[in-house]
Structures are given as structure tokens and as C-alpha cells.
Symmetry: C2
Subunit: 358 residues, 2 copies
């Protein structure tokens, strides 16, 4: 399993596109990846999950800042009646300096063309008396978050705390055969914030006036896409050969459901295609991202499964001649390669249940 091999599979299926000649040696893969259409959907899902975990589903209120960090801080402080803790999440271009040390580069970022990547940053303002405890809890939560979506959760770990100019820094790294990659940077600062003065940082810990400490999480969005692909990549032995697939988490995968049709007669194929189209539209209207390709009726089942597995699609709906008689379709799992029976009338409901939980 090499990075180049993973990129080969991902490029074949529209996750990424490399820009210069692939035949050049491995190191020249640097700075030459663009996000393809399937990768764009993956990125959208990653951003959505980040948004849920950082903004919607926080114990404390987190405000989303778009045009002005300071305005958002002032609004948040006022509406919280100055009570700590509260937070601010931002989606911003490039990393500016919180910590006083040099700009930190996320390891996967070096594979991208653009100089200024989108950074997802969350800053929590907390009372000094609770900041250390909060920082430790935050580290655990963030590590758990990466592990939740991983096909091999053991690869994520926290580094030791390093201290620099009064700033405590912990990194979340992912271990790959070709090296260790920084994917999230966590910082605790008890000094001034680069954009807020000491007056602005005054807030309340219960009834006491204090100067808020701030804890920051930085993630690069593009890096997150490459990391998700490398994390999900797996090779399984199959009849004397090794077959690659992407074990993308069900919440992240660009397409949740694909379709395969098996029939010998053209008329039956046509009827099953209509049924597949109907089922696909039903799933889509229930917010399940589904892929119905013209190849669903043409290629062999084996080659279709290989294609769908490499796209990271968790389930394939298999329709055959009997489906027209008894309404029973099969749901083939990417991870187990087993099939289970589902009646077409309850397909969408059943699939929604499958994708509901993490």
C-alpha cells in the first residue's frame, strides 16, 4: 500500500485528478492534486460533519463567523451575557498565526496546487480556572471524532503537549505506512488573542470577571479529503489477486447506494431499468445520495461491484428477474460482500435507517 497506489485508484474514480505526468517519480507527486467531482462530494460531507460536531452539536454555544471574527465575538459575548464558555467557528482561507510559532503546514496540503487552502478553525473561549481541563477534554473529543469515521481507528493519536511562547500545542496525527501526517492542530493560549485585546477578552466565570483563555482547533479541508481517502483505502485478497476498495464511512461516502441489474432478456432489462430509476429517485428525494449508471445493465456483476467498492459505495441494490415477480431486491454490502433481501416497497425506509446512525 503506497500513497501513489491510493492516488491511482482515487484518480480513476474521480476523487482527485493529478495535474502533471504520472510517469514521473513518486516525489514529484508533490503539489499536483486537484479535487475531482466525487472528491468534491466527499469534501462537502466532511465539511458538514465538521459543522455538526463543531457548531450544532456542542455542549456550549458556538457561533459561525463569516465576514468578521471580532464582530462575531462581540455578538456572541453579548448574547451569552459575557458568560464563558462559548466559541466561534470559521471557514477561512489560509492559516494565520495564533500561537506565535511559524505557520504550520498540514502534511497533506503539500499535494495541492493552491497555496491558500481552506482552514476550518474553531476557537473556544473558556474561563482560566477551567481551561486546562477543557483542553484535555477537547483533545480526547477530537481524537474520538477522527476515529469515529475511520476504517482503522488505531491510526489516530495525540502527540505530547509542546509549549511555545506560553502556548500549549497538541497535534492529532494519522499514521500511514509512508509516514505520519498532521491532520489537526490544537492550541491553548492564555495570552491575548491576535484579534482581541484584553478589554474584549474580559468575560464572566460565574460572577467573577476574568480574562478568557482560548483554545483553537485547526483543520485543513483539502487535507481532510486526502486523509479520508487514505484512511478508507484497503486491499483484500480475492481469488489469488488483491482487490482494492475504499471503506469510506457511511456518513462521508459521496454515494450511499448504487444499482445493479441482472437479466437475460432485453425486455426484462428495460423493465428493471425503469424500476431502478424509480427507486433511485425515491431514495434521492429522501436525501440519500444515489448513483444509477447506464453500466448497471451492461457490465458483469463482478466488474460493477469492483467499480462501486472503489467508489466507496456501502450498498448496492441488486435487481433481477424475480424482483419483477415478487418485489424482492437484494442489498449487497461493500464491507461484508453479503446480500440481504429487501422488498422494494420498504427499500427507502430501510436504507434511511442504515444511514441514520454513525
Amino acid at each position: 500500500m503506497t500513497f501513489k497506489k491510493i492516488l491511482d485508484v482515487c484518480e480513476k474514480h474521480g476523487f482527485v485528478k493529478r495535474i502533471i505526468n504520472k510517469s514521473i517519480d513518486n516525489d514529484a507527486v508533490n503539489k499536483l492534486v486537484k479535487i475531482g467531482p466525487v472528491g468534491a462530494l466527499l469534501q462537502e460531507n466532511l465539511k458538514t460533519e465538521w459543522f455538526f460536531s463543531m457548531v450544532i452539536n456542542r455542549e456550549n454555544t458556538v457561533f459561525l463567523s463569516k465576514d468578521s471574527f471580532v464582530d462575531t465575538y462581540e455578538y456572541g459575548k453579548e448574547i451569552c451575557q459575557e458568560k464563558l464558555p462559548f466559541g466561534i467557528a470559521e471557514i477561512k482561507e489560509g492559516i494565520d498565526n495564533v500561537c506565535g510559532n511559524a505557520n504550520k503546514l498540514f502534511d497533506f496540503d503539500k499535494y495541492f496546487m493552491e497555496e491558500r487552502q481552506l482552514v476550518l478553525r474553531t476557537t473556544m473561549f473558556v474561563a482560566p480556572s477551567k481551561s486546562i481541563q477543557f483542553f484535555h477534554q477537547w483533545q480526547r473529543q477530537r481524537k474520538m471524532w477522527w476515529r469515529k469515521f475511520s476504517a482503522a481507528p488505531g491510526k489516530y493519536h495525540l502527540t505530547d503537549i509542546s509549549t511555545n511562547n506560553g502556548c500549549q500545542n497538541v497535534e492529532i496525527k494519522a499514521e500511514y505506512p509512508w509516514g505520519s501526517h498532521l491532520i489537526e492542530s490544537l492550541m491553548l493560549l492564555n495570552d491575548l488573542h491576535p484579534k482581541l485585546d484584553s478589554q474584549q477578552l474580559q468575560a464572566k466565570d460565574g460572577r467573577k470577571k476574568v480574562q478568557a483563555h482560548h483554545i483553537t482547533s485547526d483543520i485543513s479541508l483539502s487535507s481532510m479529503v486526502l486523509n479520508a481517502l487514505c484512511d478508507a483505502y484497503d486491499e483484500v485478497p480475492l481469488q489469488n489477486e488483491s482487490r482494492s476498495l475504499l471503506r469510506l464511512h457511511r456518513k462521508l461516502t459521496p454515494y450511499k447506494i448504487s444499482f445493479s441489474i441482472i437479466a437475460s432478456q432485453a425486455a426484462v432489462t428495460e423493465e428493471l431499468s425503469q424500476l431502478a430509476l424509480y427507486l433511485c429517485r425515491k431514495l434521492r428525494s429522501d436525501h440519500i445520495s444515489s448513483l444509477l449508471l447506464p453500466s448497471a445493465t451492461k457490465n458483469s456483476l463482478e466488474s460493477q461491484y469492483r467499480h462501486y467498492d472503489q467508489l466507496g459505495i456501502p450498498y448496492t441494490v441488486v435487481l433481477n428477474e424475480n424482483t419483477l415477480k415478487n418485489g424482492i431486491a437484494f442489498l449487497r454490502s461493500r464491507d461484508t460482500t453479503l446480500k440481504e433481501q429487501v422488498h422494494v416497497s420498504s427499500l427507502s425506509e430501510y436504507v434511511q435507517q442504515l444511514f441514520k446512525n454513525y
Copy 2:
């Protein structure tokens, strides 16, 4: 109801922030709006709904393009085995020219500082034999989409088709007391695409080779935020005065649920605050964006309701002394101002049902 009055309410509640002195006359409101933290959540929800309607829930497959339109087109064409129709959705900076006419400005865009707004563009590639029909259907669908989220759906209408250099153009406009605003621009072009040559546009209509026509929808994201706010703004008479509120659609509103606590004794207030915190976290973990403010225990119910109504929050959970005894809370509706009883144990489930449908 004037635009300035709407901006006053929206600025008070963190939807937008005006940048220069408000005391200047109305016209100078031009070019001076930033999106605030509550507006940023509204924008996120608008983008999500656009993404669902344009990418996930389409009858035909639509690919999301991030780094390269042409690469996405080539990938989509290949995976669809050149079969029309298919589409491409993009979130891009600024409007480039599809139609040959001068850059069209969305009316609400002029209130924003930045010169280059984010544009949500969808391009459908369709067979020439079906393009006119598709274009008409698309117009109806898009008009319906705007109406679906509107508090007063009648304000959205389609303009007549105007033809310019072989490009048919239809606009969706919203009528306000102060004028008519362009909010979406739809185009049908049967000529070359600015980024694709005639060779690339060759595709299949059934078995026939044809040169694809393309149909485009352009929406400005920032304009969509201001439009949603103006659309939702309403004034209702209340005891000899007029009270303003935002009737934001339940899918768009930044916060779905807020909390109010009524109790005379401090100990009871404290206990109810703990319950509210528990319920708020439960709702948030079920992906329901909820707002629990320190003011929930302090301000009068009337002033809390006014605040929440102006934030566009559809329901407020009201907890009182009896809630501690019998577990019954009240769910107060923004739109009807009526309250219904809900047991705290089934609150999250009930609220999820309320927000499930459109």
C-alpha cells in the same frame, strides 16, 4: 415595511452588520452589509438546501465541480456513457459570462462589500430534442423551490423569455414593496459552452449522436441570504403596537428551538436551568440547532418571545415549576403563538418530526 427597517431588525439579531454610519440617508445603505453570525448559519442552511435540490435530489445525475469544470464534465460524460441528460453544479466566485450579454448583477448583491460574490451555478446538458421542454420544466421547478421556503409565496414569479445572441433567458424575481429583485437567472443555450468545444459537447440522445444544449441556473449566495430575510420579515399588530418577526422556513432558520424558564424561586430556576441544558444538549446531539441563552431565566416571557421571534426561531420550549413535578413542558409556536404540551422525555423525538418535512 421598508428595506431599512428590515435591516434594522436583522442587524439587532446578528444576521447582518452594516458597516458605515446608519444615520446616512437610505440610499447610502448601498454596499454596506456584512453577514453576521446568525446570518452565516442562515447562509449555510440555504446552501445546504440548494445542494440537496440541485445535486442530491435530481432526477438526473448532477456532479459537483470544485477545481475544474472541464474535468468534471469529462468525468460525468464518461461515467454516464455519454448519455444525456446530466449536470454539473458549482460554487464559484463571481459570475462569468455564459450568455454573451453583460454581467448580470443580482439586485441584492449591491448591498455587499465584496466585489466578487459566491455564485451557485448548475448547468444541465440536455439533448436538443428535449431542451425546450426541459427548460420550461426547470423554470417551473425553480419557481416552486423559492415558493416552498417562502412565507408569502406569491412574491416569486418568472419573467418572460428574452432572447439574446441565441440564448434564451428567464429570470426569477421577488416582488417587494420597494421594488422587484432578480434572485435567479435561468438560461438555455444551444450554442457552444464557453469552456467546452463542439467535440466535447458531442453526446448521445438515445443512440443518436448530438451536440448537447445546456441550461444554466445562477444564484448569488449572499443575495439569497438578504432575500430570505426580506421574505421572512413580517409585522403583526399586538396590543396597539406593531411587532416585527421573521417567519423563516423551518429548514432555513438558524436556530430551530429556544428555551424559556418561568419560576419564582431561585432553587427552582436553577433546577429548571439544568433541565433546559440537558434538553438542549439532547436536541443538539440529534442535529437540531438549539439556542439556550442565559436570558432564558431572567427576562420576562414577553421580551424573550419577541427576541426569539425576531431571530426566526419556530418553537420555544417553555419550562415552569410544574415541569419538575409532571415532566410536561410547553412548545410555543412562533407562527401561531399557541402552546402545546409535550412531555420532556419525548421532546427530541417530537421536535425531529416537526422539522423533518418541508
